[in-house]
Symmetry: none
Subunit: 209 residues, 4 copies
DNA sequence: TATGAATGAGAGTTCATTCAT
DNA sequence: AATGAATGAACTCTCATTCAT
């Protein structure tokens, strides 16, 4: 991650003194996220990103290795957030079916709260370089496996029906979640929580014993 | 559709006589489908398409207005196929829950049979020009509405549970279906029919009264 | 001239029978003239010409050797017309200053009557191939020399002032004439005859002894 | 004007130190002027321009928005020069007929001194984009109006004959001037000043009261 | 820490022309 | 007399990235 190497240097003094130029990497990531979501990764010239962020190309290449690297940072941020949430929820001592329902609802709310990230995620993965793509997939798989473990725990405990493949259920459910970006409108009639409840309800109902 | 204007003319004789050069537009579409699915629309140069199809750029632009047009044709083909299938299934006189289950399973089988189309569909829509994007969305919406009508018919008839928004169910289910392209492997352990049964089962179970 | 070789063949019968397809070369020339004047030679694709003429590319290349040839025909037509007019006027037995004035006025009226030709003439000459360009220039020079001869005749006869180079006068006057295309508007307030009188008047006045 | 944004920055040091790479935009404009005059705008590939200027395409597009922009800059330069000259001459306190004669002669000398610009001007105007064409025409019109004002001043003062439309005279005269590029040869027998005197003489004579 | 001029490869598209039919 | 599929070369322009400063 080029970010870590560079972003943590910098003169704190100057940042405090001149908030205009402060947080350059953060502003670049924000601009990139917005643009990648709106236009797609390949349709977004580096020029546009730096314009939106109000910096120059030189600055971008100072903080990030490449355009790819920028995308990679975005993925890393999303994955970190979702993993943290899942871990937190899974670690509570509520009954498994409650933890599963909470996790299912949370991933919907989180995805809607970061809809740009969601759009990028499912559209632009294959535009990452081979190696970084592997990293992201691996992290993603770990996330899915953690989710699947919850289902299997419920199946073993008899609170969720057997006879349905947990791995398929995970792919089934996250397909729905990833597609939120294609149809959900922030200015539409549905609150994020409403969608979350419905989605979680559909999942749990389909798993009733 | 540029294709229709040109591809249907031409001398059948010659095509029969020299299958090597025959079906130029079809070969272009096939090559484009494969490449768009593998590499993505923006990552696929026109040069590669014509190389794979064994023709020249001039030939491509003789049959298609633009690279965009090629993508549009692919969409049109998928939509036509899925719409036909849905209409056929919906029109039978089986009980509504059987028709819904059949439709749900069919769209999975069809998507897997045309996995390249599926991958392109959900990844590259936003790379179509504004106008064509509208066309495709409209056609897609009609398809979804037809599907939703089946659910609502079941709800009204009391064979599917009330209290769940049919439109959300449609988005939920087709999210799962569209994402098949990201995880399904043709050389994997799961037959298309197995996935189809599971998916249809999850849908129907979640709608049990 | 490719035209002569081909256009004079053809079945008179068919032309009489089907005026729709008759006069194909003429319609091509008309379309080309209009388009070359509006858009410029290089900006006018052959495709547009044949569309406007309602024929196919094959037909065009049947009658004309090339796009260049089409332009050449247009030049030939203009030159022929103007030369004929000049010869006719110069050959009358009116006093030389009357003949000069008449010729000067006529070339304005003719240029305005064929404004498209005029526009093409002064804009697109250099887009002709080397050889054809020479031909046109030679013909043009002959025309200018005939005009100059009138001036010199007047100077020798004492009805036009000496001490002004006749060749420069010719270039001076035809500069003005060729530029009609850039400012004259057919729907403007000035009748062609008005302009012609003014132009001829300016010329004759500047040559008063 | 894209030029202004970029060309004035840059390190003067470096330019002084390495004149080989200095003045890239100027060298591009020079090459473009020469080529547009010789071959015409549409016949001149960008490739040729950058070859002649000894830079890469990227450099061209760094300084200019488009090939059109390059042409526009050339126009702007010509117009600026001619307008300045006219203003200077018109502002002297010589009698109006002297000022008019001087202006008429000057525009000939200037046109011949910048014959390439002249050729481009009257041939390629219509190859500019709609909007820029309007700009140039407006500027041109202002120039013509300034010139016309001189004539009208002379007419009102009684030193030039009435009964001839000043606007037509302007179009008449500038037609001649613009056409210098089609026949004047720098290696020919006529000095620029000779032509200028003749042209001015023809104009003034045609306006004698 | 940051600049922005410059690169060089490649993008999508257009075009006049040919030729088998 | 006429078709229109196909060519192949050339076109304008864009882009991520580098590097001297």
């Amino acid at each position: 991650m080029a970010l870590e190497n560079a972003a943590d240097r910098g003169t704190a003094d100057r940042r405090a003194a001149d908030p205009e130029v402060a947080q350059v990497p953060r502003r670049l990531l924000e601009a990139a996220t917005r643009l990648f979501a709106q236009e797609g990764f390949d349709r977004t010239p580096v020029r546009r990103i730096v314009e939106e962020a109000g910096v120059t190309k030189g600055a971008l290449y100072h903080y990030f290795d490449s355009k790819d690297d920028l995308l990679h940072e975005i993925y890393a941020r999303v994955l970190r957030l979702q993993t943290e949430n899942l871990e937190r929820i899974a670690a509570t001592d509520a009954p498994v079916e409650q933890r599963l329902r909470a996790a299912a609802a949370d991933v919907v709310v989180t995805s809607i709260a970061n809809l740009d990230d969601s759009k990028i995620f499912f559209r632009s993965m294959h535009q990452l370089g081979e190696e970084k793509q592997k990293e992201v997939r691996a992290e993603r798989r770990r996330y899915h496996e953690r989710f699947r473990a919850l289902i299997e725990e419920g199946q073993r405990g008899g609170v969720l029906r057997d006879g349905v493949r947990a791995d398929l259920v995970v792919d089934f459910y996250f397909g729905s979640v990833h597609h939120l970006g294609t149809w959900y409108r922030e200015d539409g009639p549905l609150a994020a929580e409403t969608v979350a409840e419905h989605f979680a309800d559909l999942l749990m109902t389909s798993l009733r014993p």
